[in-house]
């Protein structure tokens, strides 16, 4: 059974403009994906595509004016969206843990690392102070923090960026989560530290048989550390598949452009036909949202594209998925 099932998730930003008229931004429109145990799903996309919002919608951490207006989020078969706040709190930080970008701002600056780890353990289980402490040491060892006993009494400001990110991962692991959601876990870290953190995450997922979601804008992270990937564009997932399939045979024109624009594939002088502003979320075009940027756009594209299967568990939301002419070489 799938650990996490997200179906047709829709999130809107509902605000009022200067003349008090209601304005609606269709920030997520119909997100569908699964996460299984022991796999890492990479969600990639550019700024404003809705990656972080997807994570926040899944774990119910949205704040007004963002609001979920439709869809389902099932975790082990239970719908998180209709659950009471208390039940949700029992799952969040326990069965589902989150690691966010900006490790420094996510730690409480006024308490010691150890106290924060112990607190999160005891918030969700009956364990004693001593038990929680030994668990904290265990987890700090697991994330590769040297001298864990000593570091328990460190303050957040004493940690480097990479160390703080490790502490956050340790914190996320305190309650043996079944699902780990990491939102840009290595953005802003140096490449050598990034490699350390991602190796660690991957290793932990395998060892603990967790499911994980890594949200990133970096295709390199996905290519090297994820099993499956979902590509987001303008609040929707345009393509899902195994990392190998998607990189090898991108079925959606957006994915294909994205892959071609990476430094590894970019050929200077070939004039990448890519870019252009993403569609206005307040005023989405009918039909395919990628239409205005797509060089293959035809008449059919003014009707909403279906989800087409192009391979085993490899789907793309495009009228012509799998039938596109080879990208110009």
């Amino acid at each position: 059974m799938n650990l996490l099932q997200v179906r047709d998730l829709e999130t809107h930003f509902i605000s009022r403009d200067i003349d008090n008229r209601v304005r609606i931004a269709h920030a997520l429109n119909g997100i569908t994906f699964d996460v299984e145990e022991g796999e890492i799903l990479g969600i990639v996309g550019e700024t404003g595509a809705g990656k972080s919002l997807t994570a926040q919608s899944v774990v119910g951490l949205l704040r007004p004016p963002a609001r979920i207006v439709g869809g389902q989020v099932r975790f082990e078969g239970r719908d998180l969206l209709t659950m009471s706040e208390d039940d949700l709190n029992a799952i969040r930080g326990n069965d589902i843990a989150m690691v966010v970008q900006n490790p420094r701002t996510s730690l409480d600056p006024l308490s010691r690392i150890g106290d924060q780890l112990i607190r999160i353990r005891r918030a969700h289980s009956e364990s004693s102070e001593a038990e929680a402490r030994s668990r904290a040491v265990e987890m700090m060892t697991a994330v590769g923090i040297p001298d864990p006993e000593l570091r328990l009494s460190a303050w957040p400001h004493e940690l480097s960026g990479g160390m703080a990110q490790r502490v956050l991962i340790a914190m996320a692991l305190m309650n043996e989560p079944k699902l780990l959601i990491a939102d840009e876990p290595t953005t802003g870290l140096d490449v050598t530290v990034q490699a350390q953190i991602l190796e660690l995450l991957r290793d932990l997922v395998t060892r603990m048989n967790m499911g994980a979601i890594i949200i990133t804008h970096d295709l390199g992270v996905v290519a090297n550390f994820c099993d499956r990937m979902a590509v987001m564009f303008a609040g929707g997932i345009v393509e899902t598949g195994t990392v190998g399939d998607v990189f090898e045979n991108p079925a959606h024109p957006y994915t294909s452009n994205l892959v071609d624009a990476t430094p590894e594939r970019l050929k200077i002088g070939r004039k990448a036909v890519f870019g252009g502003a993403p569609p206005d979320l307040y005023n989405l075009p009918d039909g395919c949202h990628h239409r205005d940027r797509c060089r293959f756009a035809r008449e059919e594209c003014s009707t909403p594209p279906p989800l087409r299967e192009v391979g085993l568990k490899h789907v793309a939301r495009c009228h012509f998925a799998g039938e596109l002419p080879e990208t110009a070489q």
């Binding site: 605000s15 200067i18 700024t47 404003g48 972080s52 949205l62 989150m98 966010v100 701002t105």
Partner: protein, 300 residues
Amino acid sequence: MPSETTSMALREVTAEPEFSLWQRIIGLTRRSPTAAVGLGIILFFGMLALMAQYLMPHEPELVYAERVLHPPSSEHLFGTDGNGMDIFSRVIYGARFGFGIAIPAVVLALVIGIPVGLWTGYRGGMVDEALMRFFDGLRVFPSIILALAVVAATGQSLINVVIVLGVLDSPVFARVVRSEVLALRSSVFVESAIAAGNPTWRILFIHLLPNAIQGAMAQTAVRAAWAVRISATLAFLGIGIQAPTPEWGAMIRQGAEFMISGQWWVALFPGVALILLVLGLNMFGDGMQEILNPRSRAEK
């Protein structure tokens, strides 16, 4: 915990269309009636000042020797004062002094304060320290006493009152501009301007000034209110403008003597006018600060 990412996401999708300043003012006065009322009052007095000669039923300094201290009547709506002058006309004419002192004083304060704030904020160092301490000194000293002393020493003319108020108020603007410049001077666009080869004067006036002036502009109405108040106080104390000039402060001073003997109207009407104008300026000033300060706008 997720506040930062949420607000990031928010910024990404709610890129608002740009509004002109005028549209913003209209939009915000709609939300903030205070500012609208303030603006209304200011415009009302502005109209009085501009059109005084058409609105006044009598000459403001014309003496009706036979009608000294007449109570309000249909001929003299606000009554007459101790010299037999028409208070209604004098109150109208007084608006000219209110604006005539406040506007040049604030302009002078801006002209002095902004360059000082730009320079000290950009250069920093000893000069900045010394100047800021000097300004601190000025601020702890009661401004009314300082103004009194300076006007008394330099000669009692309208011009001197304006100069003294302008100079005394310039530290307020210097400070606001300086703190903006302090935040801006290490920003990338300033560095980029230096890298492009801009001389210092261009860095200050072309690059920093337009980005640092909003805070100062938001203060102008409130500082104008201060100038109106202090100039009226000076006149009330008999410094600067003397009776029988139709200035509200001077009129209140004259009227105060008659308060005890029951001729309340002499002081009341200029007093109400003064309070209204100061109130209007302050209300509008608060509204302006709300409009121009992005932080308070975001909280709306």
